[in-house]
């Protein structure tokens, strides 16, 4: 099925509003949408939503990390492996609704490659610590990223947060070596061990729009965290994968842009600040999750609990005085 295309009027309206630095959802151009992160009951599962939760205008990404034992690659015999698989669920958007659509086409390839470059090729996970017996057995970490809803755009950003959170949350079984004998302890015998993560690279997308009146040499309008409609209308975008130490792990720029180096450098800095806040979010949520598990509060961990808090049946708002000062008197 095809998505409902954006009409020319809608495009023009969006561009005209951007001339005045106004965006359709009321954000200012450098403002990001709120990001929510929830961990599941199973270790290594994370759900990230961007935008208003559980509405038509939210992007939802679910990531799960799991481990299995495999033979290492011939060229890297003492390292474990990290494999990332991205799937668009049929519910993600109308264009993914039929079986052929779940392959995702160009979009899925782009998100997969961005995640691979950001997480795999930047070597954020310590692969040597995943080695059990050199050249024979290593841990193979499989990261499944499911895009549940792509309606609001910002899928790559949300997917990178979900993937990192899943890796940070995941615990693999403990392994002990006694001489030649390798024992892999089931979870019932020994507590599982968390993965060693060197650094946390986070993806950040910036969309560029041409100013309509002046020529293409004029300064472009830049929007942080574009929505799906903004992505349809943009002249180009930059995706940065930056960690909080301001190291660029991946950079992707495509489109018809006149881009100055200073622009790239400036937004690398902005992306790094976002990475810092994301890492803080992941660490805080992880800490809360660990506390709850240690305290035995098994009722309060997992997605079910997180969703209950947003339930319409439990919406509690404190009473608030409304100011009638500016109302017109009839």
């Amino acid at each position: 099925m095809r998505d409902v295309p954006l009409s020319n009027l809608e495009r023009q309206f969006l561009l005209d509003a951007l001339e005045e630095s106004k965006r359709l959802d009321g954000r200012s151009t450098p403002q990001r949408r709120p990001l929510e992160l929830h961990f599941g009951r199973v270790e290594g599962t994370a759900l990230v939503s961007v935008g208003e939760t559980q509405s038509d205008h939210a992007s939802l990404v679910y990531a799960q990390a799991s481990a299995s034992i495999a033979e290492p690659a011939v060229s890297r015999p003492i390292e474990g492996m990290l494999n990332i698989f991205v799937t668009y669920c049929g519910s993600a958007a109308a264009r993914f609704a039929d079986a052929a659509g779940t392959a995702g086409g160009d979009e899925a390839v782009e998100v997969t490659r961005l995640l691979e470059r950001c997480l795999k090729e930047s070597r954020c996970l310590d692969l040597e610590s995943l080695c059990i017996v050199a050249e024979e057995k290593v841990w193979q970490i499989r990261l499944d990223v499911n895009i549940l809803s792509a309606a609001a755009g910002g899928v790559a950003d949300a997917a990178s947060v979900a993937a990192l959170a899943a890796l940070a949350h995941f615990k693999r079984p403990e392994v002990t070596l006694q001489g030649d004998q390798v024992t892999i302890h089931p979870v019932s015998e020994r507590d599982p061990v968390a993965l060693a993560i060197h650094h946390y690279p986070v993806l950040s997308t910036f969309a560029f729009f041409n100013r309509q009146k002046s020529g293409s040499n004029a300064e472009k309008i830049v929007c942080v965290d574009p929505t799906w409609q903004e992505e349809q209308v943009m002249a180009g975008k930059i995706v940065f994968g930056v960690n909080p130490y301001r190291e660029i792990c991946t950079l992707h720029l495509a489109g018809q842009l006149l881009i100055d180096k200073s622009v790239v450098l400036r937004y690398a800095h902005v992306a790094s600040q976002h990475a810092k806040s994301v890492v803080d979010l992941i660490k805080n949520q992880l800490h809360e999750d660990t506390q709850k598990r240690l305290a035995g509060q098994t009722e309060e961990i997992g997605f079910a609990f997180a969703f209950k808090q947003n339930s319409i049946l439990q919406n509690v708002k404190p009473a608030e005085m409304v100011s009638t000062a500016n109302l017109e008197h009839v």
Binding site: R2, D3, P5, R95, G105, D106, V109, E110, T112, R113, E116, R117, E121, S122, R123, P201, G236, I238, V242, N243, Y245, R246, E247, I248, C249, T250, L251, H252, L253, A254, G255, Q256, L257, L258, I259, K261, V264, L265, A268, H269, S272
Partner: protein, 257 residues
């Protein structure tokens, strides 16, 4: 393979080049008779063949791994660009099982399509399709760049109007010194790799890719060197195009202008 340095104290790399030296580029336009435009390009040991078909009527079938824009793209106002990147099974050190359709090839196809969508004057050919096929015969680093350069030549050979030459180049960082045009060995064992594709005369960046990680402070000098490399490549390509055109033109009796 211990004991070798990617960049020695005399600032020479493993293949004897200096940090800011490009590999030798040899290119030829019009290598195929059947395709509307074709080119062969060698950048060091990387050998690439590009063929261009079009503009012609749009047909939806695509070979495995080709990249085309989604169906919602309006073809009533613009030509549709279809790109396929394929690496021959004998192109790399180990024999490849799939020449195309794997993820890296799909990504490359997508990047090529995005690059040429920006460079070709698509508004001149509404409701048509332009196919660009690129085949890597030998891959020795800088594959994407060689593809972009070869495809530019093939598009010129096909007579498809473009806004400007698109030239691409890689750059990297060794011992905190930027180096240009890295080969396969340097890219697998060395540090980060920055690939940039620019419109030659205006210096507009059409595509910028970076892999592995380096600190933001180094970004500027590496980007500068890569863009300088692109300018040098532009001069080489332009010389070859002019030589090709005057040779063909002299056979037909044109005056060399």
């Amino acid at each position: 393979m211990a004991g070798y340095e990617l960049l020695s104290e005399q600032n020479l790399r493993l293949d004897g080049r200096k940090a800011d030296e490009l590999r030798r580029i040899q290119c030829k336009l019009g290598v195929f008779g059947q395709a509307d435009g074709s080119a062969y390009l060698e950048q060091g040991n990387t050998k690439v063949l590009a063929a261009v078909y079009g503009p012609h009527e749009i047909y939806r079938h695509g070979a495995g791994g080709a990249s085309r824009p989604t169906l919602t793209a309006t073809s009533n106002e613009q030509a549709v660009i279809n790109c396929q990147y394929s690496a021959a099974v004998f192109s790399s050190g180990e024999r490849k099982r799939r020449p195309r359709g794997d993820r890296k090839s799909q990504e490359m196809s997508m990047h090529l399509r995005q690059t040429f969508q920006a460079a070709i004057k698509t508004e001149l050919y509404p409701r048509s399709q332009i196919d660009i096929y690129v085949e890597i015969l030998q891959a020795d680093g800088g594959n994407y760049c060689a593809c972009v350069n070869a495809a530019t030549l093939a598009l010129i050979d096909a007579g498809i109007p473009m806004k400007d030459y698109v030239c691409a180049c890689t750059a990297s960082l060794m011992n905190d010194r930027p180096v240009v045009d890295i080969n396969n060995l340097e890219s697998t064992t060395g540090g980060p790799e920055l690939t940039v594709a620019v419109m030659a005369k205006s210096g507009e960046i059409v595509l910028l890719e970076m892999s592995q990680r380096f600190h933001v402070d180094h970004l500027e000098k590496v980007m500068d060197l890569a863009m300088e490399g692109c300018q040098n490549i532009y001069h080489i390509l332009d010389k070859e195009v002019r030589a090709h055109v005057s040779k063909r033109g002299s056979l037909l009796g044109w005056e060399a202008t």
